[in-house]
């Protein structure tokens, strides 16, 4: 893992003010050498601590490291997986589920978010049901998802969908509500009708917020992956992780976890990159 990837990861958890985000993003691109070294040594220290804890099989009573693999064992397991023909199938299956769930959530979340942000009727109709559904965790959806969808692939995509939907929906609503009413008034005075206002003002105005929601939603989609792939019979990183536990391949558990973490981080970065390409006016000296 490169230090600059870490830098941008830090940018992901920064507070959502555009200024600090931009500053952090810039810092991630050219960080002073001293801080790069500091971040690299943080990873090193974490690995050393992990190695010491796992190798000594420390047992504190409330938590035990007896069955935790050491980083060296995990690295070996990762090396083996890398050379296994199954890796591609695992990755492909998980990516397909996450991406399809995410895309469905993107369309549904932006659509519902625009409706709720713009129309009082939609708010009254949709808000209460959505508020009830929102706190239901992905794992609670499993039985119903199996019952509702004919194929297990669809039910897995649905569970990643539930994870990604709410961050996207909430941020879209937030973005729509944050649009200056003067912009809408100006558009109307320039001859824009309802549809034109939605397309030319509301959607681009909410875009930065939608992108933030999409990046968070992409993360939560991966977050729900293990839950989703408990249903799976064969492939997927989440399935691999869960299977490793049942087969007592404890080294592989850690490999699966790290893979999910890395893929989640990577795909959130991709979403942000695409988002930056889609909003070229941001950072063009714009302070609004």
């Amino acid at each position: 893992m490169s230090a600059s990837a870490l830098g941008t990861a830090a940018a992901l958890i920064e507070p959502r003010t555009s200024q600090s985000r931009r500053a952090a993003a810039q810092a991630g691109e050219r960080l002073p050498l001293r801080r790069v070294a500091l971040r690299a040594s943080a990873i090193g220290l974490t690995l050393i601590a992990w190695q010491l804890l796992a190798a000594s099989k420390l047992d504190l009573g409330i938590v035990t490291f007896r069955n935790v693999p050491t980083p060296i064992e995990a690295a070996q397991a990762a090396w083996n997986l890398l050379h296994s023909p199954k890796l591609g199938a695992h990755l492909g299956a998980s990516l397909a589920r996450v991406v399809s769930g995410f895309l469905a959530a993107l369309f549904a979340g932006v659509g519902l978010g625009l409706a709720i942000g713009r129309s009082r009727l939609a708010t009254d109709l949709l808000l209460t049901p959505l508020e009830v559904l929102r706190p239901i965790p992905a794992v609670a959806w499993i039985p119903l998802a199996i019952l509702m969808f004919p194929s297990s692939e669809l039910s897995m995509a649905f569970i990643t969908f539930t994870g990604a939907l709410f961050p996207i929906l909430l941020n879209t609503v937030h973005g729509v509500e944050g649009i200056n009413p003067r912009l809408v008034a100006a558009a109307r005075s320039l001859g824009a009708g309802r549809v034109a206002i939605l397309r030319e003002v509301i959607l681009p105005g909410a875009a930065p917020s939608i992108i933030t929601g999409a990046a968070i939603g992409m993360g939560t989609a991966w977050f729900c992956l293990v839950t989703a792939e408990m249903i799976s019979g064969q492939y997927g990183i989440g399935y691999f992780t869960w299977e490793s536990y049942t087969l007592q391949n404890y080294d592989d558990i850690v490999v699966g976890m790290l893979l999910i973490g890395l893929l989640g981080m990577g795909s959130s970065l991709v979403v942000r990159r695409l988002g930056r390409l889609a909003t070229p006016w941001k950072g063009a000296g714009d302070k609004r």
Binding site: I116, G117, T123, L127, E131, L170, V173, H174, E177, N180, P181, R182, L183, A185, A186, A187, R188, S189, L190, G191, A192, G193, A196, E200, V201, P204, G205, A207, T279, P280, W281, A284, G285, D286, K287, R288
Partner: protein, 282 residues
């Protein structure tokens, strides 16, 4: 009417605008009667919060009257229309559109083909002296340049009436003077009716053919007088004795009464509606 062609004649009759709800409702302007012939440059002068922007909002079609009627060229105003362009004080350019696309917006709404509308937009860009800035985003321009774009964006629709809500109020003094001259220069070429809201007496006297002075809220028209200095107006007008006399007259009219607190600024969009958030705990 005989021989009325679209020339931007404004008529306001017995206009009352109430804002707020229930017990908190209040009259912002009361019994405004006003006729503005086409192509006149009228400045509406009044203290902060007197309802001059609210009246402008009603003319733009963003607010409706509680009583009375407003019409342009005998057509009752029912909503916003590109024939009645409005320029706000600041921040109403679309930040995600380039300067040229901002200016071309009105033509896009009319369904004009891309090549033609961009070509037209370039003409207006040049009219406001911003050649070469078409590809920038508004956020990259200074406040004064943004207001130039704002004016070009409204004028491309060739409005019969140009409504301006303290358009230079957020600019520094030097830029403001430049913008006043630019506006007069543009206006002599396009000759649309202008209703220009300001609380700056010098600005009103320098720009207008006619000045309307409004009272503190509820706003009424206290005085209505012509300003007939030669055009093009010269900066040294401020030392002209007639100018000084008019200014003193306006100052007398606008002198705040000792026990009246200054009122918060109103906007052409009415009360700033309390921020409604769908997800309260978000």
């Amino acid at each position: 009417m005989i021989g009325t062609h679209a020339e931007g004649r404004i008529a306001v009759a017995d206009a009352v605008i109430r804002l707020g709800q229930g017990a908190a409702a209040f009259d912002v302007v009361e019994n405004i009667n006003l006729t503005i012939p086409g192509r006149q440059f009228v400045c509406l002068l009044g203290p902060s919060g007197c309802g001059k922007s609210t009246l402008l909002g009603a003319l733009a079609g963003h607010l409706s009257l509680s009583r009375g009627r407003v019409a342009v060229d005998e057509e009752e105003i029912t909503g916003p229309d590109p024939e009645r362009g409005i320029v706000f004080q600041q921040h109403t350019l679309f930040p995600w559109k380039s300067v040229l696309d901002n200016i071309a917006f009105g033509l896009k709404m009319k369904g004009v083909a891309k090549d033609r509308r961009l070509e037209e937009a370039r003409t207006y860009l040049s009219l406001v002296g911003l050649d070469g800035f078409g590809d920038r985003y508004p956020g990259e321009l200074s406040g004064g340049m943004q207001q130039r774009v704002e004016i070009a964006r409204v004028l491309i629709n060739q409005p019969r009436v140009l409504l301006m809500d303290e358009p230079f109020g957020a600019l520094d003094a030097q830029t403001r003077l430049t913008m006043q001259e630019l506006l007069l220069d543009v206006w002599t070429r396009l000759r649309t009716t202008v209703l220009f809201v300001t609380h700056d007496i010098d600005e009103a006297l320098f720009l207008g053919d006619r000045v309307l002075v409004m009272s503190p809220r509820p706003g009424r028209i206290l005085d209505d007088f012509p300003v007939s200095f030669d055009r093009p107006r010269q900066r040294n007008l401020v030392v002209n004795p007639t100018f000084a006399q008019m200014k003193r007259h306006c100052l007398d009219l606008l002198r705040p009464e000792a026990n009246v607190h200054p009122l918060p600024r109103l906007t052409p969009l009415g009360l700033s509606a309390a921020k409604r958030s769908a997800f309260e705990n978000h």
